[in-house]
Amino acid sequence: MDRQQFIDLATSQAWSPEQIARAAQLLDLRPGVAHWWRFSMSLLRGVGSGSLCAGIVCFVAANWQDFGIWGRFALLQLAFVAAVALAWWRPPPDIFGEVGCFLAAFLIGCLFALFGQHYQTGADVYELFLAWAFIGLPFAVPSRSGATAALLIVVFNIGLALWASVFGLDVLVGSAIWGFESRQLSLAVAVFANLAILAALWASGLRALWLLALPLIATAVYTSIACAMTAWGGSVAAWVLFLSGFAALLAIAHLLSNRLSSVLPDTIAAAALIVVSTIVWVRVLFDAPGDDILASLLIAIWIGGCAAFMGTRLLARHRAYGDAA
């Protein structure tokens, strides 16, 4: 029960302040002494873990210059081996196994960074991030931990974003630049790659809402950027490509919302729809010969109407999910 529901219940029953306090206690809405105790323990555990990790990193960084090249590689590789050994000794879903898998996946990135720093491989930065994400996969799959999967999803999308910007996102300022089609293609790959990640997470059974939201948000962002680019001088083929990607985003978000009984995926898709439609309207209305004043008003009404329409539908669906639960 959330706060608004509790307020509605309290108002309907005309509770006094003492009755409100009693009801909150009975409904377990206000933490008691035991809750605060466990909360403090969780906080101390978080502070301890964070300080330990930060302390180790800073200790290594403080002595980094003294290690020499071989010492640095040895340090990271030993840490990697220790993390893998930990995961092997106490395999997931044991907490030590999940921590071991996460650390191993993280240290792959550190090794790549160190390698790139000392050896002129000629690789671009985006290649390192993408390689990190792929090589980390064998640790994400057995771990079945949301944290490891989230790390690799973020790393993968950083790589994708860097790759897309190799071909330049500065086309958003409105002028056609050499390699324009290449940029659209790289964004299309980014969109469909994230949809594939969503499908893979679902198939693997990792269905935490916050985890599924990550590739969904990435898809929404890439699609919005791609549609903005296409609105300022895209071919018909580009329009077909991105509209199909956008349609896929809307359909998958709706499917996820229904399966998870949460409006979060639909809300992400709705936000992308508002942004994309606004960009298209701005392009159409401000470029067409006519009144900029009227164009501004129409776009403001469009945004308000769009948000209100989708807000009403999403609210009704949210309440229907609550009633069905």
């Binding site: 029960m1 959330d2 706060r3 608004q4 529901q5 307020i7 509605d8 219940l9 108002t11 309907s12 029953q13 302040p17 003492e18 009755q19 409100i20 306090a21 009693r22 009801a23 909150a24 009975l26 409904l27 206000r30 933490p31 105790w37 909360f39 323990m41 555990r45 502070v47 301890g48 873990s49 964070g50 300080s51 330990l52 930060a54 302390g55 800073c58 960084a61 403080a62 409006v263 979060l264 709705a270 936000a271 508002i274 900029d292 004043i293 501004s296 008003l297 776009i299 403001a300 308000g304 109407g305 948000a307 209100a308 807000g311 999403l314 609210l315 309440r319 609550g322 009633d323 639960a325």
Partner: protein, 314 residues
């Protein structure tokens, strides 16, 4: 209708608290509020463009008059219709009106006084919070009023030429900027049972959420650009400001936990992490000493955790 579990119904009925029908479910999730608030901001940009292009205000009076008209139109729309479309347009109009008003007043005041502009912004937000009859509008205006208040004191610390006042004056300004927000938020949270079912909840409910959110954001905004030190001079010292910011974030975390708001808890945790990073960044110690300090704090935290666990088992 809101849903209650069988166990909850039994407990409430046994305590004599469930004597009438259950009410309709009017809850709206935070993600929807974020979507509608963000859309209203986007629409407000185009409303500002529309009004500016149509009327071409040239003087502060004209801009102020336009702002007042937009605010009044927004208030009228809020009062006259409950339809979501009307609320969105009203919110966009009121945000645009606030923008024009602030622009007009800021132009009228000496622009070398950013502190005065921040106070005026705070006053406008408080007026909007009191007068406009819409939950989302009150959420936004309470948040920005608290932020503007904190910024006004922060801007007093750093005068326009860039040189700082003394550390003591800075601490006093920090206290004036943050402590009133803390006191208000604490007062609202602790007295919640008294106002929850009264008409005051229309104001106090959004104010509670927004003030806790502001406590997460304002201390980060208040962090000094230049280093100030309580002990020693020339930047050598203990970095007190991020510690105060960390303390505030932990207080916000406790309040969010008490209210059971996961979104506010996440915001408070992010604020605490940023404050901790700022603390270590500003600490004038060698990196090796900092790393040993972190390891020491980790050891203390785990020891405290172990102690609490033993007490819990006992």
């Amino acid at each position: 209708m809101i849903k209650l579990g069988d166990g909850d119904i039994i407990r409430l009925t046994s305590a004599g608290l469930l004597e009438r029908d259950l009410p309709l479910n009017t809850a709206s999730p935070w993600m929807l509020k974020l979507l509608l608030g963000g859309a209203a901001w986007l629409a407000a940009i185009f409303v500002i463009a529309f009004v500016a292009l149509l009327f071409e205000p040239r003087t502060n009076m004209e801009a102020g008059a336009l702002g007042a008209v937009l605010l009044a139109a927004g208030a009228l729309l809020f009062a006259s219709s409950r339809a979501l479309f009307a609320e969105q347009i009203a919110l966009a109009a009121s945000l645009a009106g606030q923008g024009f008003l602030l622009f007009a007043i800021a132009r009228g005041i000496d622009v070398d006084s950013p502190r005065a502009i921040a106070f005026v912004a705070c006053a406008i937000q408080v007026a909007v919070f009191v007068l406009l009859p819409n939950h989302l509008s009150r959420l936004l205006s309470a948040f920005f009023a608290a932020l503007a208040w904190a910024m006004a004191w922060r801007l007093g610390w750093l005068d326009w030429s860039g040189s700082t006042q003394s550390a003591f004056a800075g601490l006093v300004d920090w206290i004036y900027g943050v402590v009133p927000i803390v006191a208000l938020a604490a007062g609202l949270v602790l007295s919640e049972a008294r106002w929850l079912t009264t008409p005051l909840s229309r104001w106090f409910l959004p104010a509670t959420t927004s003030l806790i959110a502001a406590l997460c954001v304002a201390p980060i905004v208040l962090l000094p650009i230049e280093r100030s030190a309580i002990f020693g001079g020339g930047g050598a010292g203990l970095a007190p400001w991020p510690l105060l910011s960390l303390l505030t974030a932990l207080g916000a975390l406790a309040a969010a936990r008490y209210l059971g708001s996961a979104a506010l808890m996440a915001l408070a945790i992010v604020s605490a992490i940023l404050s901790t990073i700022a603390f270590y960044y500003e600490l004038t110690m060698p990196l090796l000493a900092k790393s040993l300090l972190m390891l020491g704090i980790a050891a203390l935290a785990f020891a405290a955790h172990g102690y609490l666990r033993k007490r819990e088992v006992a």
